[in-house]
């Protein structure tokens, strides 16, 4: 065993000395490679943590939300709907929800105005999401004036700013009382935006949804399971920007491998010829190059992965902010629960370390099996 280890150490010594001869090129390669791993690992870690967050946070969202559609568009729930739903077997509890959107020309942002089912603010008062309060520079006790779509100015007092740790779900929320909501939007009495339902037996949710669709043909039930599934494909590698990033990374990788495969320089070719002429076997040359591939790719993997972890879980994935924010004015500040599972790390390792190491070996093998004399002549 010991002679084998000693031999590998000598091979590594030689490999490192050879790498040091082309220091700038190899350091550049390491940096680009680490950046590639950093990008892929950031998307992977951020996507997984965000999907887990959505699954955990939305676990207790309404069991069924019932919307009414008129001519293919979402419409208000008219009076009498709630009673009809109450007569359907399996429905345990139904609650009309009042919420809507408001575009604030002052901050140029969209707000979501919502009436909480319990503990609604008193008339003339409201509670705000922390992102919105920060954007408008508001604190508890200060007034907020909003001009309604009818042109009337409403002035509210901010009772409370919701905790900053809840920004991911409450960034643009404005909580207010029912009377204020109806007056502000000139909402017809007895009408609701949609209905939240709970079902007595969770196994029966699909049956109840089918019954609702049959009893109210213009209604569309949305199940909690569907709400959660919506976020299960957030930043999924098969979708949108993540696929574009992955494709770009794979292309960069292909170029890197192609450069290695076709661009074996005359110097490297001569070096292999000399090594073989002084007695190295083909296997030794391959082992030496295998070490080279492994040393570079393993270092790049570790550097990229640790960098991605710090970026996602300590700096809130700042680099993705412009992409996720899009044209929105309000963007929540949030921290995610670190998620590092073995399979995810192994997949990253496999797709970044193995292809490079393999790509390095093929051209070297082709060079190493030819006659040393021919290799040295180039």
């Amino acid at each position: 065993m010991r002679p084998w280890i000693e031999k590998q150490r000598y091979l590594i010594d030689y490999t490192l000395a050879a790498l040091a001869r082309r220091k700038a090129r190899n350091l550049g390669l390491l940096a680009v490679y680490a950046l590639l791993v950093f990008m892929l690992a950031s998307v992977s870690l951020f996507g997984q943590a965000l999907r887990q967050e959505a699954a955990a946070v939305l676990a207790d969202s309404p069991e069924v939300i019932l919307q009414r559609l008129v001519a293919g568009r979402h419409d208000l729930i008219p009076p009498g709907y709630l009673e009809k739903i109450g007569r359907i077997r399996g429905v345990q509890h139904q609650q009309g929800r009042l919420w809507g959107y408001y575009y604030d020309p002052v901050s140029k942002a969209n707000y979501t105005l919502l009436v909480p089912a319990a503990e609604a603010p008193a008339p003339g008062h409201l509670r705000l999401g922390a992102t919105l309060a920060r954007e408008r520079g508001l604190q508890a006790g200060q007034p907020l004036s909003l001009r309604s779509y009818g042109g009337k100015l409403f002035t509210f007092t901010v009772d409370e700013v919701l905790p900053a740790s809840s920004e991911l779900i409450s960034a643009d929320l404005v909580l207010l009382g029912e009377a204020d909501f109806r007056a502000f939007f000139d909402y017809p009495a007895g009408h609701y935006t949609d209905i939240a339902l709970s079902v007595a037996n969770p196994q029966e949710v699909r049956n109840v949804a089918a019954k609702l669709s049959a009893a109210l043909p213009d209604a569309r039930p949305i199940l909690r399971e569907e709400m959660r599934r919506t976020y299960a494909s957030l930043l999924d590698w098969r979708e949108g920007i993540a696929l574009a990033l992955l494709a770009a990374a794979l292309l960069a990788f292909a170029i890197l491998a192609w450069e290695k495969a076709s661009g074996l320089s005359a110097d490297e070719r001569r070096e292999i010829g000399i090594l073989k002429a002084i007695g190295w076997e083909t296997g030794d040359v391959l082992r030496m190059k295998l070490w080279e591939g492994l040393l570079i790719s393993f270092s790049a993997f570790l550097l990229g992965l640790v960098g991605a972890y710090v970026h996602v879980f300590h700096f809130g994935a700042r680099l993705f902010e412009p992409v996720l924010k899009g044209w929105a004015v309000l963007y929540p500040r949030f921290t995610l629960v670190p998620q590092l599972d073995g399979l995810q790390l192994f997949t990253l390792f496999f797709f970044t370390v193995v292809p490079y190491t393999a790509a390095v070996l093929v051209p070297i093998w082709r060079a190493a099996i030819i006659d040393p004399d021919a290799a040295m002549r180039g």
């Binding site: 809840s166 409450s170 299960a232 996720l324």
Partner: protein, 111 residues
Amino acid sequence: MTRRPSARFGAFLAVLLLLFLSMLADARRLAPPRQQEQAARAALVQQLGLSDLALFTEARYTRHLSLADLHSPFQDHPLALDHFPSGSVVPPPPARLPHYAPLDRETTLPD
């Protein structure tokens, strides 16, 4: 006596592995307090009856993604492009796809 390159690289690798282990330890350290914050968010979702994350506030169909339908992003005309950048990060609600998706594959465009 100068150290062999393999020994120097070994030290470099040891530093990287130490960073990797510190990352694992840091994840374990950060998880409990952040899980508490997550539980508080879940409680707020239950209390207010929320259905979506407030991640994309730019358009109403991305703000409440699970309540949207496939037509919302393309209101101007059926072949319009999605106006908002967040459409490139998050796909339409999967539950809506079986109802709408076959239509666009079965429909032929007139000449």
